[in-house]
Amino acid sequence: MKRILVAEDSTMMLETIFRSLKREGYDVIKSNDGKECLEILETTEPDMIITDLYMPRVNGHEVIANVRDERKMNIPILVLSAGGVEDNVLKAFDLGADDFMVKPFSLEELNVRVRKLLATSR
């Protein structure tokens, strides 16, 4: 069973993504912000990370940079964000994100993208 780490500061969104991915049969780990996400990465190695961009303490860009540059992990990273400001999107891709979704998004689309990213990462 594939393990996905989700970092999202909105509890409503976190819970929704959790339920949606759980329904698809994934093992989902929740974190409320970037800092918690990095702490979880100390002890767990997920198969994929889904992260919001704008989070308190440690934001999405820092998470991506940490995962790619410091931990040298090659797992797929999917970024979620409101607004979709072009500079932020480009920065996320520059740092090593694999895909990007703008809110509001449909859960069906999320599931499809997760499936695709996990498939290509094998």
């Binding site: 949606s20 449909s106 859960l107």
Partner: protein
């Protein structure tokens, strides 16, 4: 200066209040009632102490007090205060009577003391209000948080099919209370802002099943603008059908924020003609609304209308917005309408029309804008010269040269830029001009316009 007799009693009332509130026992309380009576008699009969040099008797009351209160009021107040003292316990009365006497002997000092006491009481009152206010606020926040979490959890369970509607309905507690219904609407809006797809219909379904659209409709009829916005926003996002009917009623609302909300909602709900409301607008189309509706329009990939339709509006902001949109979406077919705007009385409209001619490369416009040049403002002259860089040709060289010879620095700079970039022949012409007229310092201008930083 008003006479002392005419002085009306704001000071009188203050004095009365201070005197009653601030009862300081200035002497020890005597337990013996006979002693009390003797004390009262002594106090009443004792001559006032002298404070003037040479032992002259001092006036009972200062001029200040007389000025504040009026002399007639003063003796009546003193009598009333002394009479009031008879209500106190006998042990306390001598202290009270002595206090009253002292007040009339040293009014300013006592007043100050009373004022300090009053201010301290004020501060304490404010602190109490802050404390209880905070408590109430914290309670409300806690209440809000508890129900928000509960509603979110239950509605998510329903949306994901974990529980049936009947069970959810039971679990959604206190939905008869207005504050709870507000929280429910907030939860649904939050879902709507973050999710789309199959959830869209379900969220609307929940909103209607709970009867929340009635609350939102009621809010739209409120006299308070922020409530109207709240209602409009809820309906726009959660009940598009109702929103489509009522949004046009708010397009010309008296409050500009309500108008903004309605206009953005219109773009959302009428994708077949998202800017049709511009035809019926009676107020200016504000920059914020322009930006928001444009952003929404682009984000949701609404089909692009022909903005030429709105270019002849009487409202300048609508005309200018239309011109900007024509430029952005490169609507070449609007060329005749753009040329018409060159005659407009508003400077910015003419500037945008020139910019449109430049951006859309409407070469036919070159001669028209050159004819406009002598009568235009400085900003529009700059726009014309910039346009010639893209749509000008050799026929315009003389025109540009005349600007370089005679006009201001900013116009000369742009004319040099245009002449330099029209063609290689333009560059040569510029060099010749510089060689023949050293005083024009053409070299400096060319260096400036060819610097990639400019």
């Amino acid at each position: 200066m008003t006479s002392i007799k005419q002085k009306k009693p704001i000071g009188f009332l203050l004095y009365w209040v201070f005197a009653l509130i601030f009862l300081i026992p200035l002497n020890g309380i005597s337990k013996n009632s006979k002693d009390n009576k003797a004390a009262i008699h002594r106090i009443d009969q004792a001559p006032p102490k002298s404070i003037l040099k040479g032992g002259q008797p001092r006036k009972e009351l200062s001029d200040f007090a007389v000025w504040v209160l009026g002399s007639e009021n003063i003796s009546s107040i003193k009598k009333q205060l002394l009479a009031f003292g008879n209500n106190f316990p006998p042990s306390f009365q001598p202290s009270y009577f002595q206090f009253v006497k002292k007040v009339y002997t040293y009014p300013i000092i006592i007043l100050l003391l009373l004022l300090i006491g009053f201010l301290i009481a004020n501060i304490l009152t404010v602190l109490l209000i802050i404390y209880f206010g905070n408590n109430i606020k914290n309670h409300k926040e806690r209440y809000h948080r508890i129900f928000l979490n509960s509603y979110e959890e239950n509605l998510q369970s329903y949306l994901f099919g974990d529980i049936e509607w009947d069970l959810v309905r039971l679990k959604l507690k206190r939905t008869n209370k207005k504050v709870n219904r507000k929280i429910l609407t907030h939860v649904l809006l939050s879902f709507k802002e973050n999710l789309k797809g199959e959830m869209d219909e379900q969220i609307t379904h929940i909103y209607l099943k709970l009867g929340l659209e009635k609350d939102s409709l009621k809010l739209t009829k409120s006299k308070l603008y922020y409530r109207r916005i709240e209602g409009l926003k809820a309906l726009t996002n959660l009940d598009p059908k109702s929103a489509k009917e009522i949004v046009p009623n708010f397009l010309n609302d008296s409050n500009y924020l309500v108008r903004t909300e309605a206009q953005i909602a219109y773009v959302m709900h009428y994708p077949e003609s998202p800017f049709e409301f511009l035809k019926t607008l009676k107020n200016p189309f504000t920059p914020w609304t322009q930006l928001s509706s444009f952003h929404f329009f682009r984000l949701h990939q609404v089909p692009v209308p022909v903005f030429e339709t709105y270019i002849e509006s009487e409202i300048p902001t609508i005309r200018n917005f239309s011109l900007r949109m024509i430029i952005f979406f490169q609507q070449f077919e609007s060329a005749p309408a753009i040329f018409k705007m060159l005659d407009n009385e508003v400077e910015l409209t003419r500037a945008l029309a020139i910019r449109a001619i430049n951006n859309l490369r409407l070469y036919d416009g070159a001669s028209i804008i050159k004819d406009m040049y002598p009568s235009e403002t400085l900003n529009n002259k700059l726009e014309i010269i910039k346009a010639l860089k893209n749509i000008g040709d050799e026929a315009d060289f003389n025109f540009l040269e005349s600007i370089i010879r005679s006009e201001s620095i900013s116009l000369k700079t742009e004319a040099c830029r245009s002449l330099h970039f029209i063609s290689n022949i333009g560059t040569e012409r510029l060099n010749l001009l510089g060689q023949g007229n050293k005083d024009l310092n053409i070299g400096h201008f060319v260096a400036h316009v060819t610097d990639h930083r400019n």
